[in-house]
Symmetry: C2
Subunit: 281 residues, 2 copies
């Protein structure tokens, strides 16, 4: 039973966190898994400019999972929830026939008719992203190559403990600065395609303008790497350098048609959706 303030509408998001797909127990400390589970849901709410009201966690656990793993998972989850004063209001539990399975539901709200959609981009809009892209993929690449010991969670908080851009998303909505928005969970090239498809538009991205974690050599990670949980949005007007304390960078523009292209070194080519598909490759 959750009250929505008068004049608000409900936003509901649901996101899986599956062992072997979204995380590996030998790579990700349980606290990080719990944190990132909730972060996935909160990031979806941020992308609508919404205000999170409550979380619901469904958790299926293998029979032999140590209780201390579950405790650490819940510590990570609840610590992020506390940061946003978010109550854990319910959920479901089951025994898992395989690995750890979590599904996070976040109920949020926004004043009626104001939530930012993916479908509002129009030709001529500028495309912006928050923060830097590719940082998560850089860490994941190191995990894929080596052992977890070499990759300390405490040294890579943006990957292991990402903080969803709730304040920025909300301010973009309140000031009517974002015509369309999506969070970058699957990689810029894939999430940009989602935004363009739902808006019925194309896009041009300038490689040199993409804020790339670790420098320009990592551009492929910035274009296709997922799990950065930054925001991608279309804006009709020029934005300041920061929104709610977070840097925003113009990376291109919305075009007519449906083609999504990358301009690099003065040359233009198609930008295929090659977003990170977790560990399935």
């Amino acid at each position: 039973m959750l009250r929505l303030p008068a004049g608000q509408e409900a936003l509901v998001t649901t996101d899986f966190s599956l062992e072997g797909v979204h995380f590996r127990r030998q790579w990700h400390p349980a606290e990080s898994v719990g944190h990132r589970c909730l972060a996935r849901g909160l990031s979806d709410i941020a992308a609508m400019g919404g205000i999170p009201l409550a979380a619901f966690l469904s958790l299926a656990l293998p029979e032999k999972l140590p209780q201390r793993w579950v405790d650490a998972f819940m510590r990570g989850f609840l610590s992020l929830a506390k940061k946003f004063s978010l109550p854990l209001a319910g959920g479901d539990t089951a025994q898992s026939p395989g690995g750890v399975l979590a599904d996070i539901v976040v109920l949020g709200s926004a004043p009626r008719g104001t939530a930012v959609l993916r479908s509002g981009a129009r030709p001529g809009d500028s495309l912006y992203v928050t923060g830097e892209l590719g940082g998560a993929a850089l860490v994941l690449e190191r995990l894929l190559r080596g052992s977890r010991k070499k990759v300390q969670a405490s040294r890579h908080p943006a990957y292991f403990f990402p903080v969803p851009r709730l304040a920025t998303g909300r301010m973009l909505r309140e000031r009517k600065l974002a015509a369309a928005m999506i969070d970058i969970s699957d990689g810029l090239s894939t999430d940009l395609r989602h935004l363009c498809e739902e808006s019925g538009v194309g896009a041009r991205v300038y490689a040199e303008q993409v804020p790339t974690a670790g420098g320009a050599a990592n551009l492929p990670f910035a274009l296709h790497g997922g799990e950065d949980y930054e925001l991608l949005f279309a804006a009709r007007q020029k934005l300041p350098a920061q929104v709610a304390g977070v840097p925003v960078t113009r990376i291109g523009e919305v075009t007519r048609g449906s083609k999504i292209v990358l301009v690099e070194g003065g040359k233009q080519r198609d930008l295929p959706a090659e977003g990170w598909e977790h560990f399935s490759r």
Copy 2:
């Protein structure tokens, strides 16, 4: 983005349907799996007396699952949704590392402050159930013993295609007839314990009064079998024989303390929570 009518509050439910835990592909036709997945969520809304507004389905599928299985799953799901004019408003998809994993989220509503809770039972209340109990466990017992060929889904619609008691739950709320309510998904003995624990009360159940599918010999199924998706509720007043066209039966009463007892053949004994734990035994 979902509008709640003015003065309503939001109800959110989330329920797993996991292959090997809640269903088996060799036992349950895909249409039944899809139907029952949604029925689990709707039954939770019914138990609060709520009105379902929208469903969100998260679905993780094994790579080699035939498309026709998915199509049939969705047919079963959407056919039940249509019965209650319920839109499928979103969800998540992923590749499953194991079997089919579904999580159903239902957003519902009830006028502010009126949703029926599990915690409202008081000593002296009567305990009622809708319909008959144990029917699902009877079918499941046959599935556990034999082959699916002997158990035709079309001949056991109450098990393979249960219809949640939404109209009855809603009427009980509107007429303020239920002081506390829960749906019987895990078995009467287990769900009665949940209701008693949340209300801080005990209960006395009369074996001879429990409406038992297939006759009194099946009492253990009626007491402990799950997946009937009937409603169990505490009432302050005597009820008519039917509510919204569904038979309701008085099976006992709420008592002080915390003991839950069964009276059978004039003798009283403890009623342990031995609710059906799916296929884990």
